[in-house]
Point group: C2
Chain length 200, copies 2
C-alpha cells in the first residue's frame, strides 16, 4: 500500500486484506469506496461487522448459528428426530435445505479434522454428537462433511466412533454433479460414480 | 440469502453486498469468516470502517486524501510549484508517483464529468483548479484524467476553460501500453499511437 495514502486508510486496507479472497488491490478499492460513500453507510457496515460475533448465537444442541437457542431447525415439530445430518459448518445446511431431501435434525461440527492445521476431533463438536446419539431415539446419522481430504477423514473417523452404537451410519453419495460433462470430469469422481451406479 | 440464517447475519450480508464487486455469495463467505474469527478482529475491522470517513481528511489545496492539511505533496519543497497535474481521484496519484516522471503539484477533481450520472463541472473541484491557476505562478497544467469517455470529456472541458490563461495545457500521451502486443491492441489505441509517433 502506497505510503502516499493517509495512515487510517493504510490501516483499513491492511485489515481488509486479511479477509479471505481479498487482496491488497481489492482492499484499496473497497477502502476508497467507503471513503467516498455517505458516512452513514460506513458507520452502519462497520457497526454490523464489529458486533457480528456477539449478535449471532449458536444453538446449544446442534451448534448451528441461530436467532434463538435451541434453533428453529431443532424445535421444528415437522422434522424427524431420529435422523441426524452431520455437516462441517452452518453454510453447508443451506444447500441441503434447498434440496428438500432431508427432513431430520442437523449437527454442526464446526470444521473438519485436519492434523496439518492442528484440528483434531476434540476441537470439533464430536463429543456432543456422540451425546445426542447415546441419548437415544436416533436411527441414522448421515455424514455430510465435504468431499475433500479433510471431510473424508472426518467422515471415516465419525463412522468409526459411531460403529457399534446400533444405528445406521451413511455418507452422502459420490458421483457426477448435475449438468456435468463426463468428458471433463476427473477420474476419481467418475470412478466413484461408476462404483455407486444404481439400477433404473 | 437463506432465511435459515439469523437476522444479524442476513443484515451483514446485505450491507456487504452493497460494496463494489461483492456479490451475495462473497458477502456470505466474508460474514461467515467474520463470525468464526476472534471477535477482536471483527471489532477492529468494524471500527476502522465506521470511522474511516471522519479519520481521513482532505487537503484543502489539492483535495487529495491526507494525514494533514495541506498535504505533504502540496508542501514538499522539492516539488515544482509551476506544474499542476489534474487527476480524477486520489488513487490516480499513486501510479504517477511510482513512475517518477512528475515532480510538480496535484489537483484531485473528485470524479469526471458524466451527464448520464449527473456529474457536472460544478460537482468537481474545477472552480478551485481555476483559482489555483489564477493565483499565478503556474506555467503548465497536465490533464491526467482517465482515458475513458468521461475522462476525455473532462479533459476537453478543462482544456476549454484553461485556454486563454496564458499557460500550457497538456494531456498525458495516448499509446500502446508497455509489454503489449500490436496484434491484440484495439484500433483506436493503435491509431492514436501512430498519430503520436515520435522521432528517435
Amino acid at each position: 500500500m502506497s505510503a502516499v495514502y493517509p495512515k487510517p486508510l493504510r490501516r483499513l486496507v491492511a485489515l481488509l486484506s486479511r479477509l479471505p479472497g481479498i487482496g491488497e488491490k481489492t482492499a484499496t478499492r473497497l477502502s476508497m469506496f467507503l471513503l467516498a460513500t455517505p458516512p452513514d453507510f460506513a458507520r452502519e457496515l462497520g457497526n454490523a461487522i464489529a458486533r457480528i460475533p456477539e449478535s449471532v448465537i449458536r444453538c446449544s444442541k446442534c451448534f448451528n448459528i441461530a436467532d434463538e437457542d435451541p434453533c428453529s431447525l431443532c424445535t421444528d415439530p415437522a422434522r424427524r428426530d431420529d435422523l441426524i445430518c452431520v455437516v462441517e459448518g452452518p453454510t453447508d445446511i443451506v444447500p441441503i435445505e434447498k434440496s428438500g431431501e432431508f427432513k431430520g435434525r442437523y449437527h454442526v461440527l464446526g470444521g473438519a479434522i485436519s492434523p496439518i492445521d492442528g484440528v483434531m476431533p476434540d476441537d470439533l463438536h464430536v463429543r456432543e454428537l456422540l451425546g445426542r446419539v447415546d441419548g437415544g431415539g436416533v436411527t441414522e446419522v448421515v455424514l455430510a462433511t465435504n468431499l475433500t481430504a479433510e471431510g473424508e477423514a472426518t467422515a471415516s473417523y465419525l463412522a468409526g466412533v459411531l460403529k457399534g452404537k446400533g444405528i445406521r451410519v451413511s455418507r452422502i453419495a459420490y458421483g457426477l454433479p448435475m449438468g456435468s460433462d463426463l468428458e471433463y470430469a476427473d477420474e476419481i469422481t467418475v470412478g466413484r460414480a461408476m462404483k455407486g451406479r444404481r439400477e433404473l
